[in-house]
């Protein structure tokens, strides 16, 4: 790292590290939904990225509408956009489960194909409705600008906002999964679906709501995503691979593992990207993960009990 002084290096690490935090936030929000759905139902939801895009487009639409009709509202719309992104992506998820996925539970490979098909349909819908060009919502002023703790460090406010949002959502998911009776039913169904039915849990209802919740969280990820990049019809599919990587690396069924894994993957990519090219950074991260998973196939964290 030859030509940099120690001071500069520290600043680079701080800023790239923070850029990593933004990536971490989006990855984590995506992975949370995916991990819940995969852990609970064993469904590999290839359309998960498109549910994120639904959230992003919802935010864009709300921005456009408030800009045109309620200019005074432009400072505040974003908070509502997050809520609406959650609701709309969640509602679409609910419908997708009802119309498509519940018929395929006993056929995991078919759900893979079906959700992939769904993702293509959704992408084309985005293209037809919003056009192939990338769009960006108008961000309220309080999300622009940056925080400068020293002369050489520049930390963007939108990144801080996304980080805080992720923390809140993660905490919310944690409370829902580990402190509520609904979460208990989800965890029971995850472990033994047949037996859960035999202790009186309506597993089909749990499935539908879980799928909706997972998609809703992807919607929030989409809303957060709009603050750091622009949205196109294929935005979702760009993130889906990384998200799967996070889920597998973290160990399915472990919330803490998902967080740790999203963090390490995002940070590794972001810091490496500065020193080597983006694609090399990706190769390095992937290689590390592949080697790690060869030695520890259950992922970073897994709950141990007697077999």
């Amino acid at each position: 790292m030859g030509d940099y002084t120690t001071q500069e290096l520290l600043s680079i690490f701080a800023m790239q590290g923070f850029a990593g935090f933004s990536l971490f936030s989006v990855l984590l929000l995506m992975a949370l939904g995916l991990a819940i759905i995969f852990g609970q139902m064993g469904v590999i939801n290839m359309a998960h990225g498109e549910f994120m895009a639904v959230g992003a487009y919802t935010t864009y639409l709300m921005s456009a509408v408030s800009e045109k009709y309620f200019p005074g509202f432009i400072q505040y719309y974003f908070v509502f956009a997050i809520v609406f992104s959650f609701l709309i992506a969640g509602l679409l998820g609910y419908l997708a489960e009802f119309a498509l996925i519940r018929h395929l539970y006993k056929r995991p490979l078919d759900t893979l194909l079906a959700t992939w098909g769904l993702s293509l349909i959704m992408q084309q819908t985005f293209r037809s409705v919003f056009g192939a060009r990338e769009v960006s919502p108008t961000l309220p002023d309080w999300l622009l600008g940056s925080y400068q703790p020293t002369d050489t460090i520049d930390i963007p406010l939108n990144g801080l906002f996304v980080l805080a949002l992720t923390a809140i959502v993660t905490l919310g998911v944690f409370i829902l999964m580990y402190r509520s009776s609904w979460g208990l039913r989800v965890r029971a169904t995850t472990q033994n679906r047949v037996m859960s039915g035999a202790v009186g849990i309506n597993t089909k209802k749990i499935d539908r709501l879980t799928f909706a919740l997972g998609c809703g969280i992807a919607g929030i990820a989409g809303a957060a995503f709009t603050t750091i990049a622009s949205t196109g019809p294929t935005t979702g599919s760009l993130y889906i691979v990384d998200t799967f990587m996070v889920v597998v690396f973290g160990g399915a069924g472990s919330l803490f593992g998902t967080i740790a894994s999203a963090f390490s993957i995002a940070q590794a990519q972001s810091i490496l990207e500065f020193f080597i090219s983006g694609s090399m950074a990706k190769v390095m991260t992937l290689l590390t993960i592949v080697i790690f998973l060869m030695m520890r196939p259950e992922g970073l964290f897994s709950i141990k009990v007697r077999k």
């Binding site: 009776s181 208990l184 039913r185 965890r187 029971a188 472990q191 033994n192 047949v194 037996m195 859960s196 039915g197 035999a198 202790v199 009186g200 849990i201 309506n202 597993t203 709950i303 009990v305 007697r306």
Partner: protein, 229 residues
Amino acid sequence: MLEVSDLHVSYGQSEVIHGISFEAKKNETLAIMGRNGMGKTTLFKSLIGILEAGKGSIKIDGKDVTKNESYQRVENGIAYVPQGRMIFPTLTVQENIETGMEVSGLKKIPDDIYALFPVLQEMRHRKGGNLSGGQQQQLAIARALVTNPKVLLLDEPTEGIQPSIIKDIARILNEIQQLRDITIIVSEQVLSFTMAIADRLIVIDKGNFIHEDLREDVDTAQISKYLSV
């Protein structure tokens, strides 16, 4: 309390239960005895709704549940302790019990459950998967009891459990019988255990009931012969 008539159950083309009919009365403990592979577990799975009945009907307290799913049958008052316990291994003991409370609407685990199973109270924060076989069996019974069942099904509760604990379980089941209005149906191979709890014994062989006795009239030698290979 539980009425089963002409029940047929099949795995694909091969029929395992060939038209069984029986009735278990209120507060009765009924034991269904039979060797491995005679259809005990299949019968129980079809009673709780894990396997679909091909023909026939199942009624709980007069209500036909033949077409219902498992969770609806539980709502109607049947509870199931499966063979091999099937507790939720990564949930704590307390959480395991709480999974059964959705149906009964209980908010807190009732004291009488912990009074029946003091060991579960001691271990309530441990993961279910880290309990011994006998403790898991007690946990599975506790989880079934919090649904407030009218009919409790126990599939081979003594399987893989040491003799002293088997006696404990028999004592606990008798206690439950006295404390609650409950019909218990148990499938078993261990005759001494059934003799300690059951009011009536039925022998199942190749998917048919072939013998029935009240406990008072049981000729243990004859039943042992049915159970030996």
